[in-house]
Amino acid sequence: MTTDQPTLAVSGLDKTFTMHLQGGQRLAVLRGLDFDVSAGECVVLGGASGAGKSSILKMVYGNYAVDRGGVRLRAGNIDIDIATANPREILAARRHAMGYVSQFLRCVPRVPALEVVAEPLVARGVDATEAGERAAELLSRLGIPDRLWGLPPATFSGGEQQRVNVAHGFIADLPMLLLDEPTASLDARNRRVVVELIAEKLEAGTAMLGIFHDAEVRETVADRVVPVEDFTPMSKVAA
C-alpha cells in the first residue's frame, strides 16, 4: 500500500439531471470536476448554494449516479471507483470506508436514539454494550440529555436530530467522512463540539470532504477549498 495516494480522487466528473417529467429537460450541474482528498486532510467544497456541492457529496457516497468520470476511493482493503461500482461494492465501501453526515436524519421510526447512534459500530461488529457506551459518551458530549436516549429521534427538535445525526456519523472510525453542513442548525457550543470532533478525526488520519456555510467553521477546519463554480457549465440548460 502506498500512503501518498489520496484517499479520494475525483476526476473528470460530469453530472446532468434529466427531468423526464418536464419534457426531458436537461440540467447540467458539473463538468470535468477534479480534486483529491488525502488522509488527514479536510477539503471543503466552496461556491454559492445551488452550485452542486451537495450533489458532489452524494455522488461520492454513491447516492447520486455519475454520468462520466471517476470517483476513486482507496482506504484499507477498499479500492473502488464509486462511479462504476455495483451496489454491493458501494455498500461495502460505506460500511468499511466512508461515512456521511447529512443535514437531515433518516431512520426507522421506532428505534431509540442511542441505538441509532450505536448502529454504525454494531454493523461493523463491535459488541453491542461497548457500542452503546461509546454512543452515550458522544451524545452527552453533544448535549443530548440522557432522558432522550431511549426515545426515537423522530420525536426530537430539529437541532437535536441534527446532533444525533452528527453522533451517528462520527462514532465509527472510518478513513473517509463526508460532511454536508454538519453545523447548520447548531448553537455556538455544539458547533464548537463538532469542530473539535472534526479536528480529532483529522488528527487520527481521516480524510474529510465537507460543505460548510458557516464561514468561521469553514476557515477553522478547511485545509483547502475546491471552488465548485469553476466546474459548473456556463449555461445550466444543456442542449
Binding site: H20, G62, P87, R110
Partner: protein, 259 residues
C-alpha cells in the same frame, strides 16, 4: 467463504401467461444478508416475478440458479417438485400480504409456528412448544397467547405471527409480498422495524415486493423498479429513490412525494 457466490443468480427470467409476458428479461444477483425491494404499481409484474423466483410459477425463459445449503448450485427449473418443496420447508420462507394465506387460522399460534419444525422432523412436543414460544416473543407476541388462534389476533399480530412461522426454521431466503400494506401506519412502522432487525440478526436474504417506496427505503439495500413486466431501473435503493434515472421511476418518486 460462503459469501464468494450469490445466493440467487437470476438471468433473463420471464414468465408468460399465454402469449402475454407477466415479467420479462429480469436479471439480478442476490447475496446473503441482502434485502432487495421490487417496486412498481399493480400490474407491473412484481408479484409475477416473485411467483416465478419462488417457483410457484414456472420459468418460461431464462434461468434461476440458487446456492443450496450444502454449497451446490441448483438450477431451480431442473429441480423436482419434492426438491423444491424441501427448499420451502427448510431454506425458504414466504410472507403473504394477507396473513390468512400464510397461516392456519384455526390452529393455535404455537401450532402455526411449530408446524414448520414438525415438517422438518421435530418430534418432541416440549421442545417444539418452547421454540415456538421463544419465537412468539421475538416477534413481540406475549408468550401467554401461544394457545390462541390467529383468528383472535389483530392484523399486525397476525403478520408478526406469519413472520415467526417463516423464520423459525432459519431460512436463508425469504420472499415477502406487500407484508405491511393493509396495516395501520404505526403498526407498519413496528413491523418494518422488526423485519429489519431480524433480517440483520439472521443474515437473511430477502426479496420484498412493495408498492410503497417508503418501505423500500427503510429496509432494502437495493431496488428494482418494474413497469409493464420489465425492470426499468435498478440499483442501490437510496440512489434509485434520490436520483432516479428512468422516466417511470421519476414519476413514481414524484408521485410519492406529492402524495
Amino acid at each position: 467463504m460462503s459469501d464468494e457466490r450469490p445466493l440467487l443468480e437470476v438471468r433473463n427470467v420471464s414468465h408468460r401467461y399465454g402469449d402475454r409476458f407477466g415479467c420479462r428479461g429480469v436479471d439480478f444477483d442476490l447475496w446473503p444478508g441482502e434485502v432487495l425491494a421490487v417496486v412498481g404499481e399493480s400490474g407491473s409484474g412484481k408479484s409475477t416475478l416473485l411467483g416465478t423466483l419462488s417457483q410457484r410459477l414456472d420459468t418460461s425463459e431464462g434461468s434461476i440458479r440458487y446456492r443450496l445449503h450444502d454449497g451446490d448450485v441448483a438450477n431451480l427449473a431442473e429441480l423436482s417438485e419434492s426438491a423444491v418443496r424441501r427448499l420451502w420447508r427448510s431454506e425458504w420462507g414466504f410472507v403473504h400480504q394477507n396473513a390468512a394465506d400464510g397461516l392456519r387460522m384455526q390452529v393455535s399460534a404455537g401450532g402455526n409456528v411449530g408446524e414448520p419444525l414438525m415438517a422438518n422432523g421435530w418430534r418432541h412436543y416440549g421442545r417444539i412448544r418452547a421454540e415456538a414460544t421463544d419465537w412468539l416473543e421475538r416477534v413481540e407476541i406475549p408468550r401467554d397467547r401461544v394457545d390462541d388462534t390467529p383468528a383472535a389476533f389483530s392484523g399486525g399480530m397476525r403478520q408478526r405471527l406469519q413472520i415467526a412461522r417463516n423464520l423459525v426454521v432459519s431460512p436463508r431466503l425469504v420472499f415477502m409480498d406487500e407484508p405491511t400494506s393493509g396495516l395501520d401506519v404505526s403498526v407498519q412502522a413496528r413491523l418494518l422495524d422488526l423485519i429489519r432487525s431480524l433480517v440483520s440478526d439472521l443474515e437473511l436474504a430477502v426479496i420484498i415486493v412493495t408498492h410503497d417506496l417508503a418501505v423500500a427505503r427503510l429496509i432494502s439495500h437495493r431496488t428494482l423498479v418494474m413497469k409493464d413486466g420489465r425492470v426499468v431501473e435498478s440499483g442501490l435503493t437510496d440512489r434509485v429513490l434520490d436520483d432516479p434515472q428512468a422516466p417511470y421511476t421519476q414519476l413514481l418518486v414524484s408521485s410519492i412525494l406529492q402524495g
